[in-house]
Every structure is written in C-alpha cells, then in structure tokens.
C-alpha cells in the first residue's frame, strides 16, 4: 500500500532524512517513534507530498508521489492526514469543515457530502456539535473532528502526526479510542506518536527513527520486548520511566 524506498531529504546543507525505507501493507497499523527532531514529521509529510524529497521513491498503491506526472491533489485526497494541532478551518463550522473538500475536491453534491459528514460525526461521537465553530470545542473534540474530516474523503490510508501531543491528558483517551476503532476496522494507518499504550494495543509494527534514519522497523512485540539498538532502548526507557509507576 505505502512503500517508502531509500528516501533522502535535505534542508539546504542539513540532511533531515537519510535513506529511509519502510513498507506499510494494506490494513496494517505502523507506529513511528523517535526523539524530537529525528525526522518523523518530515517523513510522514513526504508520504503525501506535503514535503518534497530529493532522493528515493515513495509509492502509494503503486503511484509514485514524487513523479512529475502524478496528480498530487488527487493522491492527497486519497490519503487522509491528521495533524498535531488539528488544523481545523476556524472560519468554517464543524459540518462545513467536513464537507468543503468533499464538494470542492471530489465534486460531491452538498446533500451527499452532508450526509456523509453526519455519519462520520456520529462515529466520533460529536453529532450534536455539527453547527459549532472549531474554537467552541475542546482540544479532544477538535482532534476527533479532524479525524472525521480526513475520513470524509474515503481515504485508502491515514497518516497521523502526533495526534495527541497537543492535548490535555484527559482528552488523549477520547482521541485514542477513535483511532483504535479505526484500526480495528482495518484502516491502513501510519501513526507518529509517543503513546506506547496505543502502540501495544493496535500496532502491527513499530518504526524507530533517530537523526533522520530508520533505525529499527520491527513487529511491536519484538520491539517492546527487546529493542534491537541502544538508541531505541535509551529512548524507550526515557519516555516510559516517568510513567513507570502508573496503572
């Protein structure tokens, strides 16, 4: 489904991505983690062409993201993306946030788009908030709307970039719950997150990045049992230790 092959990217002199490779099969959930600045966001943005890369190749359903002849808009409309800071459109109501791209990009009729939007709002538990503006919702609610907005385009895969890291602790769960449901429904997902609880529950594989490199790419059970590298080991111990006494 998603196939990342030896992708390298530079910002000027600075190399952000170094020969990164990874495969995500249909229906698979892959979690990407790693220290801040390691290139996770950059990699995931390369997947739907929000960032250009200089070397390598990314294929989505055999369509090459970097290729000239690929219609990027169309490709992006088929890969949903959820951002750390939600990025709902503040000037549009929740329902309009869900319909605008359906109408303008996919050319759906307004009624059709609205119907679809309402169904998705129900799924994320926000039917009653359809007529509100994003600013009137809590962070957790906004992020659930953002997920619904991406789903409204009937994506073949979903990308998440730290979807819970801007949320208050009590809201994290409500968003993760929606993501778990999605995963269980068989959606192909690539998720940048530090929520190891989520990873354990639904991930098929965990990718660990550091300094622009894919350092590990292993089934989750392997990864948690014994990370193959020191770097991953260190990282895991850091992010788990302060929560060690929890639960």
């Amino acid at each position: 489904m998603i196939s990342i092959r030896k992708v390298s990217k530079w910002y000027g002199e600075f190399q952000v991505l170094k020969q990164c490779s990874a495969e995500v099969a249909g229906g698979e959930v892959v979690v990407v983690c790693g220290p801040s600045g390691s290139g996770k966001s950059t990699l995931i943005k390369c997947v739907n062409g929000l960032e250009a890369f200089q070397e390598g190749e990314i294929l989505i359903n055999d369509l090459s993201v970097g290729a000239r002849k690929t219609n990027l808009s169309e490709l992006r409309s088929r890969v949903g993306m959820v951002f750390q800071h939600f990025e709902l459109f503040p000037h549009l109501k929740v329902i309009q946030n869900l319909t605008i791209a359906q109408c303008k990009v996919l050319g759906r009729k307004n009624e059709e788009a609205t119907e679809k939007a309402l169904k998705l709002l129900e799924m994320v538990g926000l039917t009653t908030h359809a007529q509100k503006f994003p600013a009137q919702l809590s962070g957790g609610q906004q992020q659930r709307v953002a997920i619904a907005r991406a789903l409204a385009m009937d994506p073949v895969a979903m990308l998440f970039d730290e979807p819970t890291s801007a949320l208050d602790p009590e809201m994290i769960k409500e968003v993760l719950d929606v993501m778990v449901v999605l995963a269980q429904k068989g959606m192909t997902m690539m998720v940048v997150t530090h929520e190891m609880g989520f990873a354990r529950e639904v991930a098929n594989r965990v990718i660990f990045m550091d300094h622009g490199e894919v350092v590990e790419d292993r089934p989750k059970t392997d990864f948690f049992k014994s990370p193959g590298t020191d770097r991953a080991q260190q990282f895991l111990s850091k992010i788990l230790s302060h929560g060690a006494e929890q639960g």
């Binding site: 062409g49 992006r76 990025e87 000037h91």
Partner: protein, 224 residues
C-alpha cells in the same frame, strides 16, 4: 487673545458638503481598488517567483518611500498626459481622476503589506491541511487562507481606511476642492484660516473617531 470669527462657515456649508462627497468618493475608490490591487501584489510577493516577488517588493517600497504629497503631484502631472495619449481628451475632471489613480495605487502598497502580514499570520499548518485534503494551491488560497486572513485583517484594513480618509486632505495640493481644500480656500479667502482649519479638524476628528470606535467594537466582536 485670539478673536475667533466663525462667520465664513455658514455660507461655505454647501461647498463643504460637496467637498466632503468628493473626499468620500476618493476614499471609497482608494479602498476598493487598493484592496483588490493590494491583494494581487501581496500574492505576487508571496508567490515564490523571484521576478514577480521582487517586482511587487519594488512597487511597495517605491510607493512607501515617497511622501504622499509628491505622489499626488506626480500623478497630477503625469496622468493627464497618459490619458490623453491613450484615449484623447477625457470627459472627467482630470484632477479627480488623478486623485483616484494616485490614491488607489498608493494605498495598494499599504494594503499589500497588511494583507501579506495577514496571510502570513495564518499558520502554515492550515495550508498543509488544505493540501492534504487534496485541494489545489489555488483552492487552498481561496477557500482556506484568504477568508481567514481577511477576517484577521479587517480591523487593520479599516484603520488604514481611516488614515486614508485623513490623508485625502492632501489633495488640496493639486487644487481639487475636496473637504479640506474647500475649508482651506474659504479660510484663505476670508482671512479665517485658523477658524476654518479648526472646523475642518473637528469634522475630521468626529468622523475618524466615530469610525475608529466602530472598528474597536468590531474588533472586540471578532475577538470573542
């Protein structure tokens, strides 16, 4: 002690009113054309195309570095020639036309900066979100960026319009009888310059102040 003599005002009122209409005409034209042109220039500046963005920068800096009075004088001297070269003798008052053109072009350079800042104040994430949904660059700009940018800019755009309204007083240098020009000439003719200027100042104050109060109310409403 200065002896004030307000006797010039009553007789001049009809002309002052005509002048005010002119003033408002110029202000309105400059706002509308200025915002449209300013948006285009702002988009050019942000276009990422080296030549276009430099051209736009040059335009903005050029107009902003010269006093408005000089801009008005230049346009009053140049516009008639251009017009008559292009379409023969114009039927419209050439001074008014020059003022329209000069103010519109001049204000466009100020509006361009406001609009550019407004667009840049919308987070980059919004562009990404638009693109990620499959919208084209144009759609993202039109449906996502500009509506938000304009909403944020409204107070600044209106404040600039108030400044513009006051600046129109400078067209008296080209002899156009807008509000300030009428007041000034009446004062000059009757030897009541101080009184007429005070009167004009009061009128400008009342209008500008009321307008800026409205802007603030609007701002408060937008903020909530």
């Amino acid at each position: 002690m200065y002896e004030f003599d307000w006797s010039s005002i009553p007789g001049a009122l009809p002309f002052l009113w005509q002048g005010m209409q002119r003033t408002l005409e110029i202000t309105a034209v400059a706002i509308v054309v200025g915002i449209v042109l300013g948006t285009v220039i702002a988009l050019l500046r942000l276009s990422g195309n080296w030549a276009l963005s430099n051209l736009a920068t040059f335009y903005v800096n050029g107009f902003r570095s010269v006093p408005l009075v000089m801009v008005l004088l230049w346009f009053y001297l140049l516009v008639p020639q251009l017009i008559s070269n292009l379409m023969g003798q114009p039927s419209m008052d050439i001074r008014l036309l020059s003022a329209f053109v000069a103010f519109a072009l001049f204000e466009a350079s100020y509006y361009a900066e406001i609009i550019r800042a407004g667009i840049q104040s919308v987070s980059r994430g919004q562009v990404s979100a638009g693109l990620a949904l499959g919208m084209t660059k144009g759609q993202t700009m039109r449906l996502i960026l500009l509506p938000q940018a304009f909403r944020r800019m409204i107070p600044l755009l209106l404040t600039q319009a108030i400044i513009l309204f006051q600046d129109t007083s400078l067209v008296y240098v080209i002899g156009l009888a807008e509000f300030f020009g009428v007041a000034y000439n009446t004062g000059n003719r009757d030897g009541t310059l101080v009184e007429m200027l005070l009167f004009a100042g009061a009128v400008y104050f009342v209008i500008s102040f009321s307008a800026s109060m409205l802007v603030r109310a609007l701002q408060a409403k937008l903020a909530s």
